[in-house]
C-alpha cells in the first residue's frame, strides 16, 4: 500500500501567495514605504512644507559631529544598561526562584509580576511621575517618614538621578516580561545535569551559573538583544516623565530627533538620526547573534 503523501502543487502556491498578499500590501505601505521615504528624506534638507533640497550625506556628517547626538546616544546606552540591571537581572533571579516544580502559588506570582507589562507606558509614566513628585510623592513621603528629609529631592529634576529614576520606572514594566521568558527557558533545561552537579557537590549558586545558565544562553542573548532594541527605541517614557530634562540630561535619540524634526523643522536631519539609530541597533543585533553562533560552533 502506497503511503499517503502530500505533493505541493503549484496551484496551492498561488493560493498561498494570494492569502498573504493583503498583509504584505499593508506591510509595504505602512512599514517598508515609510522606511524607504525616511532614507530618501535623510538625504535632503526639508522644513516639512515646500520643496526638498538634496544635500547628499551632509545630514549624516552633521549628525556624527553633533555633540547632542552623542550625548543622547550615551543616555540611551545608560538606559539600556539600567534596564539590564533593573529588568533583566531581577527577571532572571525571579525566574530561577519560581521555576521549581514545587513552588506554591507560582502562577499567582507570575501573573502579579507580569501585570506592569500590560500597562500603557502613558499610565506608567504618569503614575511614576506622581511617585517621584517632590512635594506629595510616595517616595519622598516614605523618605521623610524615615527621618531622612535631606534625601527628599526632586528626583526627575535632579541631574544626577533623573535618568535612574526613569530606568526604575521602565525596569518595573520590564522585569516581569523577562521573568516569563526565563521561566519557559528554565523549564526546558535538562534536570539530569543539575542532579549530576548536585551529586558532585556543587551548591545552588554553582549549579545555577555553571550548569543552568549555559543551557539558557541562547535565551539570554535573545533577551539582551530585545533589551537593547527596547532601550534604543524608547520615546514615550522619557517624553512624559522628563521631556529630556533636566537640561537635556535624559535626552535620548528618539526625543532629540523628534525635536529636530517637528520643533526645529529639520525633517531631513531628524530622519538621518533615525537611520543612524536603526543601523546601530541592526548592527549590534547581527554582531551579537554572529558571535554567539560562532562560540557555539
Amino acid at each position: 500500500m502506497r503511503a499517503a503523501s502530500f505533493k505541493f502543487r503549484p496551484r496551492y502556491q498561488y493560493i498561498g501567495f494570494l492569502m498573504i498578499l493583503p498583509v504584505m500590501g499593508l506591510y509595504c505601505v505602512f512599514t517598508l514605504y515609510p522606511i524607504a521615504s525616511s532614507v530618501v528624506l535623510s538625504l535632503h534638507d526639508w522644513s516639512g512644507i515646500g520643496p526638498k533640497a538634496y544635500v547628499g550625506l551632509d545630514n549624516y556628517a552633521e549628525a556624527f559631529a553633533d555633540p547632542m547626538v552623542w550625548l543622547s546616544f550615551r543616555n540611551n546606552l545608560q538606559y539600556c544598561l539600567g534596564l539590564i540591571a533593573v529588568g533583566v537581572a531581577p527577571g532572571l533571579i525571579l525566574a530561577a526562584l519560581l521555576a521549581g516544580e514545587r513552588i506554591r502559588g507560582r502562577t499567582v506570582f507570575q501573573t502579579i509580576y507580569f501585570l506592569p507589562r500590560l500597562l500603557s507606558m502613558v499610565v506608567v509614566s504618569i503614575v511614576w511621575g506622581w511617585i517621584y513628585n517632590p512635594s506629595f510623592g510616595l517616595l519622598n513621603s516614605i523618605i521623610r517618614w524615615l527621618g531622612a528629609k535631606d534625601f527628599s529631592i526632586g528626583w526627575l529634576g535632579n541631574a544626577s538621578f533623573a535618568m535612574w529614576a526613569v530606568v526604575v520606572a521602565g525596569g518595573w514594566t520590564y522585569f516581569g516580561f523577562c521573568m516569563v521568558i526565563f521561566i519557559a527557558a528554565l523549564q526546558n533545561t535538562d534536570p539530569s545535569l543539575s542532579e549530576a552537579a548536585l551529586i558532585d557537590g556543587a551548591n545552588w549558586l554553582q549549579r545555577f551559573f555553571s550548569v543552568i545558565i549555559p543551557q539558557i544562553s541562547n535565551v539570554i542573548t535573545m533577551v539582551l538583544i530585545l533589551t537593547l532594541i527596547d532601550a534604543f527605541k524608547i520615546f514615550d517614557i522619557i517624553y512624559l516623565m522628563t521631556l529630556g530634562g533636566p537640561g537635556r540630561k535624559t535626552e535620548i535619540m528618539a526625543t532629540y530627533l523628534y525635536r529636530e524634526a517637528f520643533r526645529h523643522n529639520h525633517f531631513g536631519y531628524g530622519s538621518s538620526i533615525a537611520m543612524i539609530l536603526t543601523a546601530f541597533v541592526l548592527l549590534v543585533s547581527i554582531v551579537f547573534q554572529y558571535s554567539r553562533e560562532k562560540r557555539e560552533s
Binding site: S47, G48, I49, G50, Y132, N133, P134, S135, N140, S152, I153, G154, W155, L156, G157, N158, A159, A162, T242, L243, G244, G245, P246, G247, R248, K249, R259, F262, R263, H264, N265
Partner: protein, 433 residues
C-alpha cells in the same frame, strides 16, 4: 408622466443643484482653532453664530484641536488642496516660518490697512506676527505676564506691592522667613522657564537694547545687564531657596497648585490663567497682580506681552474675502471681544472701549494694564526667538539652577545658537518670505 418618473426627475434635478449650491454664493468656511476649553468653546460658538447671522451665505465648519495636533497636521494640510481656510495657531516665525517661506500663508499687510485694524487692535497684535515689515496674522488672546500674588498673605506679613527689584528682594526674604516659598514655579514645563527668564531679562534691559537684540541680532554677550538678569533669577533666587524644593521636577500645574494652596506666594504667569486662578482659589485668599518692578530708578515698569495665537489665512483658500471677514468679526469687533471677556476671560485684540463690560476684578486690572501708556508692554522673547534658541531658553534655565553650567557658559551657548539661527535666516532681521 407617472408619479415615479416625476419624482425621479425631481431628485435628479435637485441633486446637482444641491451640489452646486456653493457656486451660487453659499460657502463653507473651514476653520481650525484651539478653542477647546469649555468656556472658550462656548464663547467662539456664540461668536460664530453671530457671524453666520451677519453673513448668512457663509457656514462656519470649525474643528478645535490641541496646539500640538495643529502643529503636527498643519504643514500637510496647507500643502494639500483641502486644508482649512482659516487657521488659529501659534504665530512665531519658529513655527510658522517654513509655511511663510513656502507661500502657504496669505500676506495680510494690506488687509491691516484696508480693514482699519491699525486703529482698532492693540499694537502687539500686529507687531508679533510680522517680519520684514509684512504681516501674516492677527494676533489674538493677548497675554501679558505680570506677577500674580497672594494679597491676603502680603497684607498679613506687612509686605507692600514691590515697585523696585530691591523691594521684591526684601519681600521674598520676608516670605521665606515666614516659611512661605516666594515663587510658585514648575521647571518641567518649558513655557515656565522661558517666561521666567524672558521676563527677568526684559526687566533688566531697556527698550532700545531689546529692539537691538531682537531686530539687529546684537550679541547677547555684549551687555552686562544680561548676566545680571540671569544671575538674579537663576542663581541668587535658587541659592536663597526662593523656588519650591525640587521645583525643577514640577510641572506648571503642580507649581500653580502650591500657589492655590497658599504654600507659595507669587507666580509669574499669564492673564490667560485668570479663570483657573479664580476657579481654584475661590474665597481662600485675595489674588492681585503687579508688574515686574523697576531695576533702576530710571527704568519704566514693564510687563512682557505675548499673544496666545493668531488668525491666519490659507494662501490657497478659494474664499479669501469670507476668511478675512471672519477674522475681522472675531478679532476687531467689540461684541465678539465682549463675549470672550465675559464668557472665557480671554483678551481679544480689540483695543477700543467696550461698553457695559462685566468682568472679574482681575480681568479688569489686566485690561487696564494693556491700555496703560506708562507701562512698557514689550513682545516677549518667546514670541520672536528662533526655534533652537527657544528650545534652549525653555530647557536650559534649569541647568544653571542645578549648577550644570554657569551663567557665562549659558550666555555663550545662547548667543551662539542665536548667531547660528541668524546665519540660517531664522531671526527677525534675516528672515525672508
Amino acid at each position: 408622466m407617472s408619479r415615479k418618473v416625476l419624482m425621479a426627475f425631481c431628485i435628479a434635478l435637485a441633486l446637482p443643484l444641491g451640489m452646486f449650491a456653493e457656486s451660487r454664493g453659499q460657502i463653507t468656511l473651514k476653520v481650525w482653532d484651539q478653542w477647546r476649553a469649555e468656556n472658550d468653546s462656548k464663547a467662539i460658538t456664540m461668536v460664530d453664530d453671530n457671524f453666520m447671522k451677519k453673513y448668512p451665505n457663509v457656514k462656519i465648519e470649525r474643528t478645535a484641536m490641541p496646539e500640538s495636533e495643529i502643529a503636527d497636521l498643519i504643514k500637510a494640510a496647507l500643502s494639500s488642496d483641502s486644508g482649512p481656510d482659516v487657521i488659529y495657531s501659534e504665530v512665531g516665525i519658529g513655527f510658522i516660518g517654513p509655511m511663510l517661506k513656502a507661500g502657504a500663508i496669505l500676506d495680510l499687510t494690506n488687509t491691516w490697512k484696508a480693514r482699519g485694524w491699525n486703529d482698532k487692535l492693540f499694537p502687539v497684535s500686529k507687531s508679533i506676527p510680522s517680519v520684514g515689515g509684512r504681516n501674516y496674522a492677527v494676533g489674538c488672546e493677548l497675554e501679558f505676564c505680570p506677577i500674580y500674588y497672594n494679597k491676603t498673605l502680603f497684607k498679613k506679613l506687612g509686605i507692600n506691592e514691590p515697585k523696585t527689584m530691591s523691594d521684591l528682594d526684601a519681600a521674598m526674604a520676608k516670605l521665606k522667613a515666614a516659611g512661605v516659598t516666594p515663587w510658585a514655579w514648575g521647571g518641567k514645563t518649558w513655557w515656565n522657564n522661558a517666561n521666567l527668564v524672558g521676563s527677568v531679562l526684559w526687566d533688566y534691559l531697556d527698550q532700545d537694547t531689546i529692539n537691538k537684540q531682537m531686530y539687529q541680532d546684537v550679541s547677547w554677550k555684549s551687555n552686562p545687564a544680561v548676566k545680571d538678569a540671569l544671575n538674579k533669577c537663576l542663581v541668587e533666587w535658587a541659592q536663597k531657596g526662593y523656588y519650591p524644593t525640587g521645583g525643577e521636577a514640577l510641572t506648571d500645574d503642580e507649581g500653580l497648585m502650591l500657589f492655590y494652596q497658599g504654600k507659595a506666594a507669587m507666580v509669574p504667569n499669564s492673564n490667560a490663567n485668570i479663570e483657573a486662578f479664580l476657579g481654584n482659589i475661590g474665597d481662600k485668599f485675595e489674588v492681585s497682580s503687579f508688574n515686574w518692578p523697576k531695576v533702576t530708578p530710571k527704568s519704566k515698569p514693564n510687563t512682557v506681552a505675548f499673544i496666545g495665537s493668531g488668525y491666519m489665512v490659507n494662501a490657497k483658500t478659494k474664499y479669501q474675502q469670507a476668511a478675512i471677514d471672519y477674522i475681522d468679526f472675531v478679532c476687531a469687533n467689540p461684541d465678539s471681544a465682549k463675549i470672550f471677556y465675559e464668557v472665557a476671560s480671554k483678551f481679544m485684540p480689540y483695543k477700543k472701549a467696550i461698553p457695559n463690560l462685566k468682568v472679574p476684578r482681575l480681568v479688569a486690572e489686566a485690561r487696564a494694564a494693556l491700555t496703560d501708556s506708562s507701562l512698557l508692554l514689550l513682545p516677549g522673547i518667546n514670541m520672536t526667538a528662533p526655534p533652537e534658541v527657544m528650545t534652549f531658553l525653555e530647557t536650559n534655565a534649569v541647568q544653571v539652577m542645578t549648577k550644570q553650567i554657569d551663567v557665562p557658559g549659558w550666555i555663550d551657548q545662547f548667543d551662539s545658537l542665536w548667531q547660528k539661527s541668524k546665519a540660517e535666516g531664522m531671526t527677525l532681521s534675516t528672515f525672508k518670505w
